[in-house]
Symmetry: C2
Subunit: 346 residues, 2 copies
């Protein structure tokens, strides 16, 4: 019986995948988790609260969710995200959805893990703007209602630390994944999950070479050793008119992290899941529509000019990567007794 | 049987209320609704989405929930709220919780209804910063996923109007009420719902005169004809040292709305429900703690100096006004196809 099921799955898999001779993978129903931070319900609950809480930004107005909005595509639909005092940086917020599958975090991969990533924006002057992480943590400590949540998640021995707060946020983010897209259902053998146009787009997506980088279940590259990100040069074909039009040579990418010339214009390969929800596109958010983004990628990375039909097919396919979003209850955040946020920084 | 229940209720009511000879009222389980905007599940669903959606602010970063945060006390814990581009106004955000019971909206009562209120912040340059309401509505119209929600709530005949958006937000806000506080349970006869100190504080609250303004089920004054707000002069005793200390003569209040000298320093009497969650206090958010707020009110409005015990008792009582918050699922917001918010204003 069990063998029969396995064989049946194989037959379905061959029928589905055989055509394109490519290993199309569905998104796992659980994200991988590091040995030193197993995902527990208690951490997830605390992490959700911290994720939505704006009080650890200098002005008390910016939370993780401000730029990585879980009610939207996990980002903010802005070219450049806006932090405290209306300040903006030079990159577009990547989606938090399925970030648990990424080989590294940030566009330039400067954080190896979600735990490390979570600490960055808090002290970035154009994001949450706190002067240091301990000051941010002092704000958490000054909210008595958080104490029991930290104890439940991390035990009674000094649980309210920066590292534990980051671990809780990371654990929560590992539950923010979106399986069950039409693509996933198609790969699992559900007839009609992707329509004919979408299946044509899927074929084109592979045939023109998109899958050489956007591979794996999250379309963000192969599984890598923890901490070693999957980076590619963008733009690859610098002569394309798109490169000048969208100012793609302005941002040196990972060079800024490593200082190595070989890392110039190297960026993390981002996930394509839920891409229909995350306009505008690219690290600089310069391209508003998915149609144009597909044309740009084909030309700038693969030196290919697509027909209108090919573009339409691939956009239809990419729309099939929109998954099911886990329902979640709006958290209640513990009160801020005796505070006026914005009038003090401790 | 029914008569018996009524009589029993009366006996309980007399036993509870008789001591203070004051009509302590529990919060109704439903907010009143205007004849031209009955609350329906369809409007509430749409209103919740609009309430949480930041895309109708100039920068795409400020929603109703930014300053009236439903995860917190319905406000932002800031002295002065912060809108687009980090701009601030001169007043502290009032709580949205139980605003459905208020006799008028805004500190100066310049909106007669929740429907009217909802339109204000959208075009306030220091809040959501849109140049006019139709431009904000054009942003809603440019999100195709909103259309069916408007049709379900308002019918198929041109449903996507500014007025209907405001009606939906108001209908949602009428469900954001918090009955079931220890005070409410006490008034309904539940023994031990308020402890002895809280009951002493309740008595003091009435005896020193707080209930002359903070009356009714929401502690925001008597029921008024629709649109006629319940205003009081603040500060009343201008000689108090608190008036200078907290700069209470700076804001002329309702004078700015009506232009009448008799409205100088007139402010809407705010609800005291969930007051323990809404620090800092007063229209200018100048007072961070509830203890100090109680002392200030007694002195500035009633010319009374309270003992430390009286203050502690009344703070304990006010903590008993924290209600039960209706659980709600985080809304999914329809996608913004082909947009970069912040790069255009239409």
């Amino acid at each position: 019986m069990k063998l029969k099921t396995v064989l049946l799955s194989l037959v379905i898999a061959m029928a589905t995948n055989g055509v394109q001779a490519y290993d199309w993978q569905a998104l796992p129903s659980k994200a991988p988790e590091p040995a030193d931070n197993p995902t527990t319900p208690e951490k997830v609950e605390l992490g959700r609260m911290l994720y939505f809480d704006p009080r650890f930004s200098e002005t008390g107005t910016v939370s993780c969710n401000s730029c990585h909005n879980l009610m939207l595509g996990g980002d903010d639909n802005r070219a450049f995200s806006m932090g405290v005092h209306g300040k903006t940086g030079g990159r577009s917020a990547p989606t938090v959805w399925n970030s648990a599958f990424a080989s590294a975090q940030f566009w330039d991969g400067r954080a190896a893990s979600l735990e490390e990533q979570a600490k960055g924006p808090v002290v970035n002057p154009v994001e949450m703007g706190m002067s240091d992480l301990e000051k941010a943590m002092n704000r958490v400590r000054a909210i008595p209602g958080y104490q029991p949540y930290f104890v439940r998640a991390f035990g009674a021995d000094n649980p309210m630390s920066v590292d534990n707060a980051a671990k809780a946020v990371a654990a929560f983010e590992r539950t923010m994944i979106t399986p069950g897209s039409p693509y996933d259902r198609h790969v699992k053998g559900e007839k009609g999950a992707l329509d004919e146009q979408q299946q044509r787009g899927m074929k084109t997506f592979h045939e023109i070479g998109c899958t050489s980088c956007h591979s794996g279940p999250a379309f963000d590259g192969p599984t890598m050793a923890p901490g070693s990100g999957f980076f590619m040069k963008f733009p690859t074909f610098e002569d394309s008119e798109y490169v000048a039009k969208y100012d793609f040579l302005k941002d040196p990418g990972r060079l800024e992290v490593t200082g190595k010339d070989t890392d110039k214009y190297m960026f993390k390969v981002p996930t394509l899941r839920n891409i229909a929800l995350t306009a505008p596109y690219f690290h600089n958010g310069a391209v508003p529509t998915l149609e144009e983004a597909v044309r740009v990628m084909a030309k700038v990375q693969l030196n290919k000019d697509l027909s209108d039909d090919q573009v339409a097919d691939m956009v239809a396919f990419l729309n099939g990567l929109t998954g099911e979003f886990p329902e979640q209850v709006l958290p209640r955040l513990p009160a801020t007794p005796g505070w006026a946020i914005g009038s003090r920084e401790d």
